[in-house]
Amino acid sequence: MPIYVGGASLLAVLFNRAISGIAPVADASSSQSRADLLTLGLAVTNVLTGLVWLSIRPKSITPVEPQGVECQEIYSHLPESVVSEILWVWESLSAVTCCKSLVIVYDCQCIVQIGVAAKSLNIDEPFAVDAAKLMQGSLYQGVLKSGAQSYMANLSLYPGRSELPFLPSNTQAVILQPLGDRGIAVLGGDTIRGFTTSDQTWISYIGEKLDATLAKYMSSMPSVVQE
């Protein structure tokens, strides 16, 4: 906005000089020239401030609709309370963040697959999550070793993309949240850099809570057959 003010006054000063018939010589000899120079200086300051403001305005990024099939698959042997907690997590994530797909793998099996998933080859079914393959992959191992959340803000830049075939192919951002040392939650978002830092902190706290809940119930159950 100051650009317009500055630019317009710049032109106005030059115009003024032109129509008053004064020779276009920029020297500080006459008081008229001095006044002109000062005004020019102010106009330039305004233009530059306007430029600084332009760069402060955030760049708006459009979300990309994920391509795939809607699904809501939760491992059937979980107790009611755990299921409702998982549903709460999904409800919060999809309402507050740009998360459009959620996959939770715990104790070598896929517990949850909610949201938009990639289509299986040839059929209209969601792509099944191969938990064992995921857990052997480098993404999971890396996250397990560091114990911290991994945020891939622009998924197309990461080669590890191939380890997540169950996410829609045009997922823009992914957060990998370790659940203790026994599982991982994969969140797929529809906007590049769509998860803010506050989202990330909330997700890590929710991950800890989920891990506590799942650990309690998984340990009280006999070992389950991998599906």
Binding site: N16, S31, G41, T45, I56, K59, E85, E91, Y205
Partner: protein, 280 residues
């Protein structure tokens, strides 16, 4: 001479470059790519800033100083000018003075830009004690849920004090101060009686006071509170009864900062309040 390659730098925000020019009083042009953590959106900024390289000088006020300086020079020029001041000169001076006035107000306007200044830090309320109390007759599961919810709210948002009332049971955590004569045991009763007076339990919509206001329930909040958020715990819309959301209680969050809860924070707080819904 200043090279105008800085113009191309504007288009490529990821380049970090500082050109320092040999002449002493030329402005340094720094191009910084930064992420502001305290703003709503994740912004990848390319900020072209003029800095004179003097530590401690806030360059955003530069237009103001320039406005004052040039404006006074203009007036000086006018007074010292030759006897006949032409109309053209008067026009220029008028234009110059209005520009100077505009420049002076620019930094003030700039504060309202998205992503401009960071917020002040949280200050702890004075004379307040840190407490964590919960009503006695809550189930273990509910206890865990309340403890986790209060913990997460205190850690993740700018909250200094949190109070949750759900299904008639209270959980209070954070910094609160109470009048003398209220011992640790009576705390719950004191809160309960005060809350009944305020009628917050019947709230159906989220209340947000970003700045200190004369709300009626101010007496239970710790001193130094500047923003308050009250989030009712709603049951989802029940299709069998035509009731849009039975209210089960509310969350009361107080912070010592103004404008402490932005859109995102409030959305997350709503999500956490949904966690404490009873399941049926």
């Amino acid at each position: 001479m200043t090279s105008l390659t800085t113009k191309t730098l504007l288009l490529n925000p990821l380049i970090q470059l500082k050109t320092s020019l040999p002449l002493k009083f030329r402005p340094k042009i720094a191009s910084i790519s930064a992420r502001l953590d305290n703003s709503q959106q994740q912004m990848n900024l390319s900020v072209l800033r003029f800095t004179l390289g003097i530590p401690g000088l806030d360059e955003s006020y530069l237009p103001r100083w320039i406005g004052y300086g040039f404006g006074s020079l203009l007036i000086l020029n006018h007074l010292l000018g030759s006897d006949s001041i032409s109309a053209a000169q008067l026009r220029t001076e008028a234009l110059g003075l209005s520009l100077a006035a505009f420049s002076i107000t620019l930094p003030y306007l700039g504060k309202f830009l998205k992503g401009a200044a960071p917020m002040d830090q949280t200050t702890l309320p004075e004379g307040a004690e840190q407490i964590f109390v919960m009503s006695e007759n809550v189930s273990i599961a509910q206890k865990e849920a309340l403890a986790w919810a209060t913990y997460v709210l205190l850690r993740n948002t700018n909250t200094t004090s949190v109070l949750i009332l759900t299904q008639g049971e209270l959980c209070i955590r954070g910094y609160w101060n109470f009048p003398d004569g209220v011992s640790k045991d009576n705390v719950l009763d004191w809160f309960k009686s005060n809350i009944e007076e305020t009628g917050l339990s019947d709230l159906t919509d989220t209340l947000y006071f970003p700045q200190t206001a004369d709300a009626e329930f101010w007496n239970i909040l710790p001193q130094g509170t500047q923003s308050v958020l009250v989030q009712p715990v709603l049951l989802g819309p029940n299709p069998s009864t035509n009731d849009m959301g039975n209210i089960e209680g509310f969350f009361l969050l107080a912070s010592s900062m103004r404008y402490a809860y932005n859109e995102k924070d409030r959305a997350w707080i709503r999500a956490v309040s949904n966690k404490l819904r009873s399941k049926n």
